[in-house]
Symmetry: C2
Subunit: 446 residues, 2 copies
Amino acid sequence: MTTSGPPEPKPGSQANQAGHHNLDPHLDRYAARTAGMTASEIRALFAVASRPEVVSLAGGMPNLTALPLDSLSTQIAELVAEDGLVALQYGSAHGVPTLREQICEIMAMEGISAHPDDVVVTVGSQMGLDMVTRLFCDPGDVVLAEGPSYVGALGSFAAYQAQVVHVAMDDEGLIPSALREALAEAERAGQRVKFLYTIPNFHNPAGVTLAVERRAEILEICAAHGVLVIEDNPYGLLGFDGQTYPALRASDPDNVVYLGSFSKTFASGLRVGWVLAPHAVREKLVLAAESATLCPPTFNQLVVSRYLSTHDWKGQIKTFRENYRQRRDAILSALEQHMPPGCSWTKPDGGFYVWVTVPEGVDTKAMLPRAVTARVAYASGTGFYADGLGSRQMRLSYCYPTPERLREGVRRLAGVLESEMELVRTFGNVPSRAVSGPQSPSPDTA
Amino acid sequence: MTTSGPPEPKPGSQANQAGHHNLDPHLDRYAARTAGMTASEIRALFAVASRPEVVSLAGGMPNLTALPLDSLSTQIAELVAEDGLVALQYGSAHGVPTLREQICEIMAMEGISAHPDDVVVTVGSQMGLDMVTRLFCDPGDVVLAEGPSYVGALGSFAAYQAQVVHVAMDDEGLIPSALREALAEAERAGQRVKFLYTIPNFHNPAGVTLAVERRAEILEICAAHGVLVIEDNPYGLLGFDGQTYPALRASDPDNVVYLGSFSKTFASGLRVGWVLAPHAVREKLVLAAESATLCPPTFNQLVVSRYLSTHDWKGQIKTFRENYRQRRDAILSALEQHMPPGCSWTKPDGGFYVWVTVPEGVDTKAMLPRAVTARVAYASGTGFYADGLGSRQMRLSYCYPTPERLREGVRRLAGVLESEMELVRTFGNVPSRAVSGPQSPSPDTA
């Protein structure tokens, strides 16, 4: 995205008049939140990594090849011809009522009982996250999030100058005792903790799922400390055995704000997501959403609504799920076969991601340019932490490439890792280039 | 939107446990920006005003009846069938390159020479406004804006806790000497002025256009004071004689951020707008946009791009323009015919709005419920000011109703106004219910 540099200041431009010598004449004008805004480290390599010869295990793009384009085309043509004056017109910031009813039916699959009035349609779940942070976070407020966490969430938290405190996970998801400790520590330090942000199912980037028996405990801890829970669940219907887990929102409607999305179960390019919130919060959300985008696109909402009412959307999700399971099987067996000793990884039973830990001494960020040279890309771990951790981790996305490409990608990655480990054995730790400041997500990491 | 009240706190809910007695158990948790967030006064009457028997002069919805729905339907069907896997997939936060090139061609019609790299596609122009405010405004920073100004802009400024200082206008738009005075006063008070927000063409809500001979002077004043200019131009191509005015951005690329939109020239329900910014600002904008929505909908961008390349979009704008001119003629002649003495109004030569001033003693906000009872609605003036002014003004939108309905609406409005003036003559000023706090826009006021 940043292949061309900033232009030279022109003679007579304000920068010169003011005697400044930095390349951005507007530098003194930015808000405090903007000063440290830098591109995601992942994006810096995006241009190279998107070349066709590179196997990208970096992106979080859903594989849409199974979508029934011909029948979608017909449906959408009918929508425009029959209902175009509504579809192409402004709507309310709250969202189209029929779609909000359908969203309640979808959420019921994970045990949620909700009223359509309490659903707010957003421009993707990212906007929901941004709006929730806007409503609750003053600069310096603490947000608890799993470590690692979704890079797009970290970007929104940074935009509102919230401070992220990571809570440890294991193969069963967020660890309740670690949550208790984090809350106790924040209270000792006199910090205001606004909410726990959590992705309970098929975590991005960790690939793990919060054990059912931990869910009530985590809700109790948060309620006891007066801390809201933000439950982000874009992958919940992508369990490879068709399994679903009870949503946190299902058992605590008053203290959980739930974020949902059609990006992984239908089409990411429509940018339709939603927030389900307690009534009073929902009213504020609508007002915040109005100042952000006026209203979500009516057209896209009607496309989704028509798709849900005319297609076998559950069958379609089953097809997606089976495609992703094949890919998960391919990447796990390739990791087993090729990865050098000392590496470990999570075993996802749904979703898009495997989280890999490499042997001590290897820095995944420093290694990334060498991996791209060897025609494989991944997302290095530090992007998923707000505090600099993650240098021995990487996220591998298996959602988009074919199983063959996934196997080839892992073979290449294992080769790069072998060389890197050899280097470490010979010369000690390989240094990483420093990256500082809050990072913004790239669509590649969604 | 707020027809049902907040639910009663349930036994055992957190609100009760904490011993709170307010109806929103989350009240202590909101950010400072959220505390005063209240619904727009305009919206409170929206449910009633949207009944078919009411002539609504309140909304800013474009009249889309002239759109060629059948051929749009065919085009969009082809897009999905031929290019669906791209259209339905994530894109970049920067926007689709082809569309950004086409946007540069559109802007050239108002004298702007720009590189597609410096264009960022947004979810409507409202998102552009929100992102620019996010980039530049810390709490307490001053934003200058015409008085009156666009209600959606005031909503975004409030969301970032910026302080709005209004600058007076006359029939020739923003008054340069008033701008100088506002800047001098802010400097005396030690305030940080971040930018001037201005709608130079066919102003919302004032209906006036900034005189061409004032444009260079306003740019010079802002540059001399180190203040950025945000130029919001959704109506620029809707001049009723086909006239256009030179964009501020055309003569000062380094100090103007330009906001554009397809909502009034094509279709508002697609939510496609853009920002043109100096290079360094543009890079930050892309990062801010990623944390807000990840990326604008690819689908909508490709729909607009295909429309621009296959339709006679200039001919379509001409058709829209002629429809709006007919409506402008109808409302102005009805105002001339029916309004009681002592009223005055602006004479727009493009855009959607007439700004009416009523005789002293009449409060347009207090009068609105009576107007709605008489089956006519308008937007009362105070919603367009951040400082409580505007009680003697109202905005009449002529964009949506038919000429016949416009005439009938004005006839009803004049009747309500006559009664109100009679009341004032008999009993003195009619008190208004107090409304406080920053207001959020409603799509109805776009």
